[in-house]
């Protein structure tokens, strides 16, 4: 699994170790003004190096003194005096160590939209005052951190440490990177510049906000040994099936004393056993569409998919059911079905690495073998129905005898804008003569696909949170309770 944070840090380390011939120019020109999205150009030097101002002071002092001698102009010495004096005063004692930078966070794990606490400390280990220390923190684009993106400038007295609070929040789920942080110091009145002090990145895990989800306890085929759903088999459970005469092996606490006294014969309460069910959540990651705006803002397909998956998983896992995950896309990860609180945390962690399939990558052919999705499992497919392959997959699953529910994860606002057409003159739907017409044609084709899927027995419902699946769950359960004709 590709860890973007580690890859980013490796790239930084590679640049750090690269030798450099024009260190001062790099540090002064490129480092402070580089946009935040680009990886930093970090160059490390052996020690403090003179700046261009140092060269200017030496050059002008020499020129003015030579001119004073050759032109017999003592007033030129006056011009050279402050340049030479300033340089001499500044360079009287010179620093040797680079500034030490450290970024720490007390909240490496946060929820989407919640506050993030971090701090940056810069230390001056020299006995010389740093006239200026410029530190720049780079973060993932989904972390809104104070002082990130802009360099932070301060002065540090000798032997002291400056701490900067980096308050912020994670605006989207996923694995994010806080850092690396690069700082350089300037001393001797701007004549010397230090090597870059680099603080490594910190990993921040932002768990998705769980979409509110509730559903009734209807399940097409409950299969396990214990759980919340009633089965059709007699056994220990909470659902009463009837009253029958006592038989050897029955528990005494099951005796129905009222019926026993009336019939003068021991009777026990018969119950139906409780069973758990298996839910397979299949996430269609072939395409991403829409813009992410964080919690409460605009949603992309992946946002809806991940939040809905987390909500459905939380609902069923807390009821004792087993929930598994499969990605439809590349690389096609899967998470085995299991139950319990620990499994729910595993699901959240697993969802952090959800990414859309790269262009040109096809889903692996082994993803949907016969043994991967059990025939008695409820398969919930989260799909935006953008790609024809998604519709074909749904039809294939239904034809294979699986209990399939498709949840439409296309953002409603995106569908609405496609249906309305361009509203402003700079709207992309207004660009080109046939763009809006093509968009409407695509919408009609999509509606046609949804209708065809319903004809194949695949209910397609838009994601609506609590109670939105009750009706289709009832339909699927009714279908499951009847006889089925499975092609051989």
């Amino acid at each position: 699994m590709v860890n973007l944070g580690r890859a980013f840090s490796a790239a930084v380390a590679q640049r750090v170790n690269r030798s450099n011939r024009d260190v001062a120019r790099r540090m002064r020109l490129d480092l402070p003004d580089r946009p935040t999205d680009l990886p930093p150009e970090i160059e490390v030097t052996a020690g403090w190096v003179p700046t261009r101002a140092f060269g200017r002071a030496v050059l002008l002092t020499g020129l003015l003194l030579v001119g004073a001698v050759f032109l017999r102009r003592t007033d030129l010495v006056v011009f050279a005096a402050p340049l030479a004096l300033g340089a001499a005063l500044g360079l009287w004692r010179r620093p040797t160590a680079a500034p030490a930078v450290q970024v720490t966070t007390t909240t490496p794990t946060v929820s989407e939209g919640t506050e993030l606490n971090a701090s940056m400390t810069i230390s001056n280990r020299d006995p010389i005052r740093y006239d200026l220390v410029v530190a720049r923190l780079r973060t993932s684009r989904w972390l809104r951190v104070e002082h990130a993106g802009r360099p932070y400038a301060t002065a540090i007295p000798p032997g002291q440490t400056v701490g900067i609070d980096l308050g912020g929040r994670a605006v989207r789920w996923g694995r994010h990177v806080l850092g690396p942080t690069v700082a350089y110091a300037v001393a001797a009145d701007g004549l010397l510049i230090s090597p870059a002090g680099v603080a490594p990145y910190s990993d921040i895990r932002a768990f998705p906000t769980t979409a509110s989800f509730r559903a009734n306890d209807l399940m097409p085929r409950a299969a396990g040994m214990l759980g919340f759903h009633r089965s059709r088999r007699p056994g220990d459970g909470g659902e009463m099936a009837g009253v029958r005469p006592f038989m050897p092996g029955d528990r005494l606490r099951r005796v129905d004393w009222r019926v026993s006294l009336r019939t003068r014969e021991l009777h026990v309460v018969a119950t139906l056993s409780d069973r758990d069910a298996e839910i397979t959540i299949l996430m269609d990651l072939l395409h991403e569409s829409g813009l992410s705006g964080g919690p409460g803002g605009s949603r992309s397909v992946l946002d809806i998919t991940v939040r809905a998956a987390a909500g459905i998983a939380e609902h069923y896992v807390t009821r004792g059911d087993r929930v598994g995950f499969i990605e439809y896309g590349w690389p096609g990860r899967r998470l085995r079905a299991s139950a319990g609180r620990r499994h729910y945390l595993t699901i959240l962690e697993w969802l952090l690495d959800t990414r859309p399939s790269p262009e040109g990558r096809e889903p692996t052919v082994y993803t949907f073998g016969a043994s991967h999705i059990k025939t008695n499992a409820l398969t919930v497919v989260l799909t935006p129905l953008i790609d024809p392959r998604s519709a074909a997959l749904l039809a294939r699953l239904a034809r294979g005898g699986r209990f399939v529910i498709a949840i439409d994860t296309m953002p409603p606002e995106l569908l609405g804008s496609l249906a309305r057409g361009p509203r402003r003159h700079d709207d992309w739907l207004g660009q080109g003569e046939f763009t809006s017409v093509a968009a409407r044609l695509w919408l009609m084709e999509r509606e046609n696909t949804v209708a065809q899927l319903r004809d194949h027995g695949v209910p397609v419902v838009p994601w609506g949170g609590a109670g939105s699946l009750d009706e289709v769950l009832g339909q699927v359960s009714r279908i499951a309770s009847g006889p089925q004709a499975v092609p051989r």
């Binding site: 261009r52 003015l64 003194l65 003592t74 007033d75 006056v78 360099p151 400038a153 009145d189």
Partner: protein, 230 residues
């Protein structure tokens, strides 16, 4: 994409060019020139657009501290020109030159502009004296002060990003150091320029040589420190 039209041109243009009396070769060159000019114009337009976007971004992100430092360097450069350059040049159209130098220092403190500006101030001072301006004590002191402020402000601005968030009190030691250096310079200048006139003409050469030796010593020390790179 009209400026990137094919060499053959639009239908109907051939007829217009033919009516001008151009030969086939002339018509071809005419169309070729139109194509090249159109392409160059498109590239120029794109380049200008990119630069305008860049300037807009810089203006939007600029913060107060770095802007003040750069503004100080601009003001000091203008002050240096005002003190040293002949007054008649500063009231005519040649005023554009000092303004360009000064603005250049503020915009590009990392470039050669500060050095060029200081050299221009010194050359203007020497030209002014050669054309009859009196040699007074205050003028070199003021000019040296302005030169030093230009130099040190540019040095500070070169390492302070334009969008940096500066803490309070960051610039106080910098201002105090400038004041101290200017005070020492003023004392030194009085010693160099005024004392020889007071003590008599016969001491002028020896005093100047002594002062020069001292300055050469300081310059040599600075050069030595610069060579001690780790």
């Amino acid at each position: 994409m009209s400026e990137l039209a094919p060499i053959g041109g639009e239908p109907g243009q051939v007829g217009r060019l033919a009516r001008l009396g151009l030969s086939g070769r002339g018509r071809y060159l005419m169309r070729r020139a139109r194509y090249v000019l159109g392409r160059a114009g498109a590239l120029l337009q794109r380049g200008v657009g990119i630069r305008i976007d860049r300037v807009t971004a810089v203006v939007e992100q600029a913060t107060l501290g770095p802007v003040v430092v750069r503004f100080c360097s601009v003001l000091a450069a203008l002050g240096g020109f005002a003190v040293t350059w002949p007054t008649r040049d500063l009231t005519t159209t040649s005023l554009v030159v000092p303004v360009l130098f000064a603005v250049g220092v503020g915009i590009a403190p990392r470039s050669l502009m500060p050095t060029a500006t200081i050299v221009a101030i010194v050359l203007g001072y020497m030209f002014n004296l050669d054309t009859g301006a009196p040699l007074t004590v205050w003028r070199p002191i003021a000019a040296a002060s302005m030169i030093y402020i230009v130099h040190t402000s540019a040095a500070f601005a070169a390492v302070l990003p334009f969008n940096a968030v500066a803490t309070r009190g960051l610039f106080l030691p910098y201002v105090l150091r400038i004041a101290a250096v200017i005070a020492i310079t003023a004392i030194l200048a009085v010693g160099i320029l005024a004392v020889p006139g007071i003590v008599g003409q016969h001491r002028l050469v020896s005093a100047a040589v002594a002062g020069m030796v001292a300055m050469v010593g300081v310059a040599g020390y600075v050069a030595y420190l610069g060579s001690q790179r780790r």
